[in-house]
Amino acid sequence: MTTSPGITLKGQHRIGGRVLFDADLLIPGGQWTCLLGRSGVGKSTILRLILGLETGGLFSGSFAATDGMPLAGRISYMAQSDLLLPWLSVLDNVCIGARLRGENPHFGRARDLLNRVGLSDHTDQKPATLSGGMRQRAALARTLFEDRPILFLDEPFSALDAGTRADMQELASDVLQDRTVLLVTHDPAEAARLAHQIIVMSAQATQNWPVPETVALREINAPETLACQAKLLAYLRGIAA
């Protein structure tokens, strides 16, 4: 794969005249950027804005890829809800993007990806028969099937139990190496583990947060990770008031 581009964004987003956020971001290429902030501060809105989805507001400013090429068609998206289609098998769900674009799905590649996320024994099952963690792994395989250099992850692990979440973080970190990842999360521990860069969003501004000097993916119980996590949590609680 060619090097994944970064993204810059600068501008103000208003909803009904009220400023939702005023941001100035650089999301470096080929790295994990974690976007943190309290609920309702506009984290998901940033993803939706760049993806070209409905945001219910007006953005004045600009965003672009650092390589100067258009962003359209180069970002794939994974949400908190797995959005698997209940009537399709896991395999068909992974290939849904190709179907939606009117292309012939490459089933072999889909099987390889399912194998990679540990679902090779469940390709023909319907999503309803899978556990929450398995469903989210299927959603990850579907995201990988799109094979795009940039990934937007909107709290994809937040509905999972703690153990499954830790497994998913490791899996995602492994399979998404060298891609540009923007991860929206509520969880300071997740950010401290995964991030090459942490951006904290508050109502008025965005600021870069120091990350531990160790390399991501960090051990959950490493002192640096825990320290970073604790500071982040304290800060997030502070800006609430």
Partner: protein
């Protein structure tokens, strides 16, 4: 168990009917006893069967055509905001016209044969099917829409692979309504002008004071409707299970 329940209901119904006949002491040309009706049904079994066949065909064809038209309209409306804005109010407005009042006109236009009855059944079920399916097509989880946009989906493929399958339970709901309405449409059509069908047979029997035959036709019509209701119920349940990805 289920069968025993049905049998019990049937026996209670027949018992009440017989009790009514005994209590009121009504003459048999006003309220015939169940036994008389059964005899009449057996005696006239050929003519009842022939006319049931005609009504059944009208109802089934009406259902098929009405459903196809309803499904096509709902998809068209869900594909285009303009169509939705222009056509939906018109459709709602047409519901202010009682379809029964159109029956004489339909008979004039489509003749005394099956045609006018099929059109009647189509008209009466078209709106419930369209409305229920359209509702299902447009009431879609916005997450699917977002995902599809990010995947670069073609508009029609989004309809085909996501909107239609997830709206199938709503279509089932519309079909359940249609199964109740379609026989009404066909029989009204037959009342207004026909030479065949259960509605025609009821009028004929009434005119000749063969009230037992009229009752027999009525009961057969009710059975036809119940059968249709059950068949469509099975289909609707199947659609539900498909959309939910149920496996056994």
């Amino acid at each position: 168990m289920r069968f025993r329940d049905i049998l019990m209901t049937l026996l209670i119904g027949l018992g009440l009917w017989q009790a009514l006949v005994i209590i009121t002491d009504a003459p048999h040309f006003i309220l015939p006893s169940p036994w008389r009706v059964a005899q009449a049904a057996y005696k006239s079994r050929v003519i009842i069967a022939e006319n049931t066949w005609v009504t059944a065909i009208e109802v089934v064809l009406g259902l098929l055509i009405g459903t196809l038209l309803g499904v096509a309209t709902a998809i068209q409306l869900a594909m285009s905001k303009t169509a939705e804005r222009v056509i939906l109010p018109i459709l709602v407005f047409t519901q202010a016209v009682p379809v029964f009042a159109l029956a004489p006109l339909l008979t004039l236009w489509f003749g005394y044969g099956m045609g006018s009855k099929i059109v009647m059944a189509v008209l009466i079920i078209y709106f419930p099917v369209t409305s229920a399916f359209h509702d299902g097509l447009t009431r879609i989880d916005s997450g699917y829409r977002d995902l599809s946009i990010s995947m670069g989906a073609l508009r029609w493929n989004f309809m085909r692979y996501i909107q239609i399958p997830q709206a199938l339970p709503s279509l089932g709901t519309g079909l359940r309504l249609a199964a109740v309405y379609a026989p009404i449409g066909a029989v009204i059509g037959e009342w207004v002008g026909a030479s065949k069908g259960l509605g025609y047979l009821m009028l004929l029997a009434n005119g000749r004071a063969k009230i037992d035959l009229m009752f027999a036709s009525l009961i057969v019509l009710a059975c036809l409707t119940v059968f249709l209701h059950i068949a469509i119920g099975v289909l609707a349940t199947g659609l539900n299970r498909y959309a939910q990805g149920a496996t056994n």
